[in-house]
């Protein structure tokens, strides 16, 4: 009788899952609307697996598994791990901004689940990420290095670890100590652990290396002076931070084409799959239509730190959240079983990840020819307890390399246009900039320059330093007040301000800091006195290519639909920085936060 009922339920569920036009459900996919009678299982996925999960969701939605036991439709949305964690800690209150409340949350690593639960516990709230979540797929954190550099350190015969990199970073001779003076100083690329999983893992690994431990990192360990000293030593070699590792990989790839990849950065903490993508000529891991990947001249190799590493384990958290119904939970569990099936797990390999199901062997493309080693790592590090994790991120904020940043803000007339919500573009940008000031630590140095044509009579007439560069701790309020007073003016002398801001920062370069210009504009150059882009690009490149002793990065934000995105990208690329897109003015706060994560 029960079976009969079950079959009947299936039939009914199947019928309920048919689209209204009865075309057999062919249109169901990972992003479809939910037919009446079906439960929506929303998945918030970290970006690296969105494409794969969307494909699997579409297959699932078309399969019997989606209807057997109650009709469900799985929908996948992209959500970076850090952003997902923040939204969950805040109760995922704004579905317009954050997307639908997820039933499944799959960040890149379970460390994010621990952070969320701890932050909720700190607020007296219940944990939402249940323990024991299954891994969808895996990839270890590695240190990517150009092969010649790794070989100079003894790779592949000699195990290499963070301690070796620290020694090299602190050696005044730099690469000359390894017989390669032409490579200059050792330079490290790291992302920001508030945003990036690989950065969070790298920071954990770094603290373990500093303590000589492999597990059970404690709060006392983190606060020990020698540990702080070790970490400051590692951080001192950082060229700049960032929200995503792709910034480094893209810059590296571009430098490879120019033959300068060995002088951009020496090592970057990334996930193993990124090394595979890079060596296949596809640093972002996505093959666009018509794109023909071209392998780099100098390939990267994955160093599996001898002290141990961590895996990004893509847990599938079926959330213990008040908004998850029993039907959604049941559907989520079915989808989880579905993605664990060997046939679906084999698809994971295609993307350069290791399958979470042990029944599926690790194979191509995770092979030595791609710079990675399927037999590595040999050991892993213990995930610190949640309170330690949270403190570790805070501590990183205190010990990270300090920054020296010039905020260059466009106050041209077009900034007075409506941003789409009744406010002007300038009003939105001012608020975002003021909010972003909170991300700087007290000893970071920040100044504000505004630009527009004919700002004043005397030279320079196209820009004014409202607040000279100085320690944020002493002028945070003044920075906020001055930014708050900005009003729209005339034209956009983009080329002039970009070049001169860059050169001013070069002149006052501080080797102990990340030196950068953050340029925000909503338009394109309309300065009749300087309308040739090439001299500007040449100046930027000349100061950045090869063994520059004073690298300054020019990060750009293209604000609004009329911004000259192409030019801004070329400017950022010329200085090995990154261009950010805030075409939708409503995204400016998020974009500002992402840009400031580089410092």
């Amino acid at each position: 009788m029960k079976r009969l009922l079950a079959v009947l339920a299936c039939v009914l569920a199947l019928a309920a899952c048919q689209p209204p036009n009865g075309d057999g459900g062919e249109s169901t996919s990972g992003t479809d609307d939910v037919p009446e009678g079906c439960a929506a299982v929303d998945v918030a996925s970290s970006p690296e697996k969105v494409e794969l999960l969307t494909e699997l969701a579409a297959t699932f939605n078309d399969s019997d598994a989606a209807s057997d036991g109650g009709c469900v439709v799985v929908r996948v949305q992209r959500k970076s791990s850090g952003a997902g964690a923040t939204a969950l800690v805040n109760g995922w209150t704004d579905e317009v901004a954050e997307g639908p409340k997820p039933v499944i949350w799959s960040p890149a690593a379970s460390s994010w689940g621990a952070v969320v639960n701890q932050q909720l516990a700190n607020k007296g709230d219940k944990a939402v990420a249940p323990p024991g979540a299954k891994s969808f797929m895996l990839t270890p954190l590695v240190i990517a290095m150009p092969r010649p550099m790794a070989q100079a350190l003894g790779w592949p015969d000699t195990p290499i670890g963070y301690s070796d990199l620290l020694a090299l970073a602190q050696n005044p001779e730099g690469w000359a100590s390894k017989g390669h003076p032409e490579w200059g100083a050792f330079r490290l690329g790291k992302t920001n652990p508030n945003f990036s999983t690989s950065a969070l893992s790298a920071t954990i690994a770094q603290y373990y290396a500093a303590t000589g431990k492999q597990r059970d990192l404690t709060l006392e360990d983190i606060n020990r002076p020698e540990v702080t000293q070790f970490n400051q030593g590692v951080e001192s070699a950082v060229v700049h931070y960032g929200d995503i590792t792709l910034t480094f990989l893209n810059n590296w790839f571009r430098n490879d084409a120019r033959g300068t990849s060995l002088t951009y950065v020496s090592a970057v903490a990334v996930e193993e799959k990124s090394v595979i993508d890079y060596n296949r000529g596809n640093p972002d891991g996505i093959t666009d239509p018509g794109e023909r990947p071209r392998p780099p001249k100098v390939p990267l190799v994955a160093i599996y730190p001898k002290e141990g590493t961590l895996f990004s384990d893509s847990p599938f958290y079926v959330l213990d959240a008040p908004w998850v119904s029993a039907a959604e939970r049941s559907g989520a569990q079915r989808f989880e079983r579905f993605v664990q099936q060997p046939a679906n797990q084999r698809k994971i390999l295609r993307f350069g990840f290791r399958p979470g199901n042990p029944a599926v062997a690790v194979g191509s493309p995770i092979v030595r020819a791609n710079g990675v080693d399927p037999g590595q790592p040999q050991t892993t590090l213990g995930l610190p307890s949640p309170p330690v994790l949270v403190r570790l991120i805070e501590r990183w904020g205190e010990t990270r390399k300090s920054a020296r940043v010039l905020l260059v803000i466009d106050v041209s007339g077009s900034m007075s246009e409506d941003a789409g919500n009744g406010e002007t573009k300038l009003e939105l940008a001012k608020r975002a900039a003021i909010d972003a000031l909170a991300q700087f630590k007290p000893d970071d140095q920040v100044g504000v320059r505004i630009f527009s044509t004919n700002l004043r009579q005397q030279q320079p007439s196209d820009y004014i330093d409202l607040v000279p560069i100085g320690p944020v701790g002493g002028q945070r309020e003044r920075l906020g007040v001055e930014i708050g007073r900005l009003i729209p003016r005339e034209g956009t002398p983009l080329y002039t301000v970009a070049r001169e801001s860059y050169q001013d920062m070069k002149k006052a370069y501080d080797p102990a800091r990340i030196n950068a210009v953050l340029l925000l504009t909503d338009g394109r150059n309309d300065d009749e006195h300087n309308n040739d882009l090439n001299p500007t690009l040449s100046a930027l490149r000349a100061g950045s290519e090869g063994l520059s002793s004073s690298p300054v990065r020019l990060f750009t934000i293209a604000y609004g639909h009329d911004a000259d995105k192409d030019t801004l990208k070329r400017m950022a690329d010329a200085t090995n920085a990154a261009a950010y897109d805030a075409s939708d003015p409503q995204t400016i706060a998020k974009v500002f936060t992402a840009v400031v994560s580089n410092f």
Binding site: K2, R3, R215, A359, Q378
Partner: protein, 332 residues
């Protein structure tokens, strides 16, 4: 025989027939009740597959709830009602509840505990290369609990392995939440003391045991055997322990199966499946069902061994009270 006597006999026969008919009818009604009454079975997570089979059987009317043993133990410690007719567990957990409640002065919620219905051995899955290296430091060159616990947390280079392997990492199921965890810890403890007859004084007063247990605890990584075998190598954990019924299928199916040894530490210990039932007619019906052919078939289909063939006569586990003490000790 006179007419009066014949009449009396006929009357008696008629009464007997009526009584008999009523009795048969009553029994038939009872059968109807037994077939239609929902019987509530609480199952430990490790028995989920077997319990699902029982629930799915068309001739049963069993409603199954699956719960980690740790959750049930904590709830039953002070509950006024059981909330189930029967509780099926891999290990002497109903007995543990009876002992704990008795010691605390509570009424016994669980009226009856079955004989062992099925069994599964405690097993360690270990990467072969690392098991071979560790065995050189073990008595009789065979990895067992004492040897593994002594090595746990120490650098591999100190216990026969390579420097690059880091420290010895074990993956034990959690004794605070899972039945497999309590049974595994019980088996390991019995092996440490060389006998299952272990008292609370032994585990509390022995410095050697305390150090050994601390090693196992601090070296423990919170993963299961599937996670240990994923990712293509032994970096996550060196050895994962658990019940054969759940560990062996994962190892057998793993792509890296040939690189893994299944170790049955000597003496062999087992998780024996018990059914604890409350006092009720429904509970009796449930016991009849589960201790009968349906229960046996479901447990066998779930990978559990029926009977003692090839197994020792007893589980080689400490008494339930000591298992409870071990669970508390691990939680500290």
């Amino acid at each position: 025989m006179n007419a009066l006597l014949l009449r009396l006999l006929a009357l008696a026969a008629a009464v007997a027939m009526v009584v008999g008919a009523l009795a048969v009818r009553n029994r038939m009604d009872d059968d109807k009740v037994s077939r239609s009454t929902e019987l509530r079975l609480l199952c430990a997570t490790e028995l989920e597959a077997a319990c699902d089979a029982i629930e799915d059987d068309p001739d049963s009317s069993v409603t199954v709830t699956v719960e980690e043993v740790g959750t049930t133990l904590d709830r039953l410690a002070e509950a006024d009602v059981a909330g189930f007719d029967g509780w099926l567990t891999p290990g002497p957990f109903p007995q543990m509840v009876r002992e704990t409640r008795k010691a605390d002065g509570h009424t016994a919620l669980i009226d009856r505990v079955s004989r062992p219905l099925a069994r599964s051995r405690v097993v360690i899955a270990m990467w072969k290369e690392r098991a071979t290296a560790l065995a050189t430091r073990c008595v009789d060159r065979a990895v067992e609990w004492k040897c593994l616990g002594d090595a746990a947390g120490r650098p591999w280079k100190d216990v026969g392995g390579r420097d690059t392997w880091g420290s010895v990492k074990t993956a034990l199921p959690d004794p605070t939440t899972t039945a497999a965890g309590v049974v595994t810890l019980g088996a390991a403890t019995a092996t440490f003391f060389g006998q299952p007859d272990v008292g609370s004084l032994d585990i509390n007063e022995s410095d050697a045991y305390g150090a050994w247990l601390n090693n196992l605890k601090t070296a423990n990584v919170n993963v299961d055997v599937a996670r240990m075998l994923a990712a293509g190598g032994p970096s996550i954990a060196d050895a994962a322990a658990g019940l054969e019924v759940s560990v062996k299928p994962v190892v057998d199916a793993a792509a890296a199966s040939a690189e893994v040894s299944l170790i049955y530490p000597s003496p062999v210990a087992t998780a024996d499946v018990f059914l604890g039932t409350v006092t009720s007619e429904r509970a009796a019906l449930l016991a009849e069902l589960l201790e009968g052919s349906l229960g046996r078939a479901a447990l066998r289909a779930g990978g559990w061994q029926i009977g003692n063939a090839g197994l020792p006569p007893t589980s080689y586990l400490p008494v339930p009270g000591l298992l409870a003490a071990l669970r508390d000790r691990w939680a500290q």
